[in-house]
């Protein structure tokens, strides 16, 4: 029975094993004189035990199928927009990236009129740039043609 806790516990155990595997290149040191690999391995062992406990005690938790995933599709779209922002920020600059991302979200995802979406995206992208970069001197990336 795949309950939320069983899946969570399994994922934690897997992560713990992965950390142990990745820590193999770090000097472990000794019990009395720990090296840089000591603490990560110790934590991974604790996580493995706790993940196992979560798994063992998780039989009575909610079934994974019973958890509503109705919003997952939009969550993936928003996440993709976030990735676009991350990739575009230093290539296209803050203003163009934000303009495109906000326009996409408001116009295409939220189905607002193009004029509303464009006005909203333009005001927010350029307004926040002015506030942070120009007024507060927090440098934000610029794109082609210094935009």
């Amino acid at each position: 029975m795949w309950t939320t806790d069983r899946i969570g516990g399994s994922a934690l155990c897997l992560l713990a094993v992965l950390v142990m595997w990745e820590s193999r290149s770090l000097p472990l040191g000794s019990w009395r004189n720990p090296g840089p690999g000591y603490f990560p391995v110790l934590l991974a062992v604790i996580l493995l035990v706790l993940g196992g406990l979560v798994w063992a005690m998780g039989g009575g938790a909610a079934l994974i199928a019973a958890v509503g995933w109705g919003e997952a599709r939009q969550a993936v779209i928003i996440l993709a927009v976030c990735v676009f922002i991350c990739l575009g920020l230093e290539r296209l600059g803050y203003r163009l990236t934000m303009l495109a991302a906000l326009l996409f979200l408001v116009w295409l995802v939220e189905r607002r009129s193009f004029v509303t979406a464009a006005a909203f995206a333009f005001a927010l992208a350029f307004g926040t740039y002015y506030l942070f970069d120009t007024l507060l001197r927090v440098p934000l990336p610029r794109g082609p043609f210094n935009v």
């Binding site: 934690l12 996580l47 906000l102 927090v138």
Partner: protein, 509 residues
């Protein structure tokens, strides 16, 4: 006592001078604005304005910088409550119930309670700072690496023990946070750990990307696609003020948060960060309705907000009395004082009473100014909730990005926040709490360093943790918490009556 009052009189005679009042006001306004904007935290605000203080007198400079510091702590709650974006670690716990209150139409009440809690905590802790600075500072000096390790471990255990759900799950999340905190250069050996050639990861994962991702972005991912979108709220004037019941429910959390925050704040190091986490956990445990926490419990706003503001004053104790900064912000302020030729330390109070007492008195005045500034602004800030969610969430995403990017000017931080957002969304769906992850990530480098330094001090003897009175007591307290949880878990398991269906017990008959 008479001497203290006389000195305070001297302080007020300085703090009420027009020029000092003006700089306190400027500091409070800038601090509030800096706090309200996600990403531009108090450290960035103080650092940006530090050069502007070089032309001022030492008193005016420290008064203005302190105004920015506690102004930012006041303002930091605003985006946490209205948008679930924590500007810094201290605001993380306010996000949980503050935002839930906002979604219930109680944003005004949450903001007002946060402002008043901050005011009370700020004022009371200044009294404590004034009376207790020298003796508390010498106590704080007895905190070496073993005591520090024990305290941080206790902080994690308290949070796990007092969280609403399963202690095992909370502890697992705290350990996950500790593992995230392992990423970056090992402070003692210089080894790169889990950085996979990404230079930016050498400094480790920042607190802001983790907190903003786990709270701000995860909230948008979980909410934006819901079949029934969050309704647009139109707060009325009477809704802006807390109800009588909300006042009553806030009094004790504010008191407890104030004491807890101050005591934790005085400890050198960055232990003050845990004050709001511990306060939240304590309030949940002491509440008669712990199930309301996470759903908009006013104590979940009042306690942590008071604790983080009280810790702000507490952090000044070692700085002023010993010249030991208790975190990056007091360190910058210490640098500002040194630029003016002032050396904070045990002799500061005797040698420069005008500066010390002027600073103390200006904190009273600054707290009053902040209350006067923040309460009327509650009505303005809550208008954010009038924006339809289809327009609000793209703005939240944008503020999350700009807030995270602004800290280090690094796009890698934005990537970390996005990954944390996805992780927070999944963990939320699986019923795991995310606050312990943030605490774990903050404490990881400190706790590891304290452990290794302790072992270096004792030539590898683990008995150092139990042989020293303070660390031994703290660890015993931590062990008692684990045992208590174990006993209550076993008692639940042994209670065979819980497993009998209702009809067998005859309750349906």
């Amino acid at each position: 006592m008479a001497e203290t009052l006389q000195n305070l009189g001297l302080g007020f005679s300085i703090a009420l001078q027009p020029a000092v009042l003006l700089y306190a006001f400027v500091g409070c306004v800038v601090g509030t604005l800096v706090g309200v904007l996600p990403g531009v935290g108090p450290l960035a605000g103080i650092s940006l304005l530090l050069p502007a203080t070089f032309g001022l007198t030492a008193t005016n400079a420290i008064v203005m910088l302190a105004g920015i510091y506690y102004g930012a702590m006041y303002g930091g709650s605003t985006t946490s409550i209205l948008m679930r974006i924590p500007g810094e670690a201290a605001s993380v716990m306010t996000c949980i119930d503050g935002y839930a209150m906002a979604r219930k139409g109680r944003a005004g009440a949450a903001l007002a309670i946060a402002a008043i809690g901050s005011f009370v905590a700020g004022t009371v802790s200044v009294v404590a700072l004034m009376l207790l600075a020298p003796p508390l500072a010498s106590f704080a000096l007895r905190f070496g690496p073993p005591e520090y390790f024990a305290l941080l471990l206790l902080g994690l255990l308290v949070l796990a023990y007092m969280s609403g759900g399963s202690m095992v799950k909370s502890l697992a999340m705290a350990v996950l946070g500790l593992l995230l905190g392992m990423i970056g250069i090992d402070q003692m050996s210089g080894y790169f750990r889990f950085s996979y050639g990404i230079v930016e990861l050498g400094d480790g994962l920042g607190v802001v990307p983790i907190a903003v991702g786990l709270f701000g972005i995860a909230e948008v991912l979980a909410t934006a696609g819901q079949e029934v979108p969050p309704q647009v709220l139109k707060p009325k004037l009477r809704d802006l003020l807390p109800s009588r019941q909300e006042w009553r429910d806030s009094v004790m959390p504010i008191g407890r948060g104030t004491v807890l925050g101050f005591l934790i704040g005085i400890i050198p190091g960055s232990a003050h960060i845990i004050s709001s986490f511990v306060s939240y956990a304590v309030e949940r445990r002491l509440s008669r309705h712990p199930e309301e926490f996470g759903q908009g419990a006013v104590a979940g706003v009042a306690g942590p907000e008071s604790a983080n503001n009280s810790a702000t004053s507490g952090a000044f104790v070692p700085m002023l009395a010993l010249g030991v900064p208790s975190g990056p912000i007091p360190a910058v302020m210490l640098a500002a004082l040194m630029v003016h030729g002032v050396s904070p330390g045990p002799l500061l109070i005797k040698e420069q009473p005008e500066l010390f007492w002027g600073f103390i008195a200006s904190m009273y005045v600054g707290n009053l100014m902040l209350l006067a500034l923040n309460l009327p602004m509650v009505g303005i800030f809550v208008n954010v909730l009038r924006v339809p969610y289809s327009l609000l969430y793209p703005s939240i995403i944008m503020f999350c990005v700009v807030g995270v990017y602004a800290v280090n000017g690094s796009v890698v931080d934005v990537g970390i926040a996005i990954v944390m957002g996805a992780l927070g969304y999944i963990l939320r769906k699986l019923g795991f709490e995310t606050a312990p992850i943030v605490l774990g990530a903050i404490l990881a480098p400190m706790i590891e360093l304290a452990l290794r330094q302790s072992l270096a001090m004792s030539d590898g003897q683990y008995t150092i943790f139990v042989s020293r009175p303070i660390s031994g007591t703290l660890l015993a307290f931590g062990a008692a918490l684990v045992l208590l949880n174990l006993v209550s878990w076993m008692a639940r398991g042994l209670d065979w009556r819980r497993r009998i269906p209702l009809d067998e017990k005859g309750e349906n008959s």
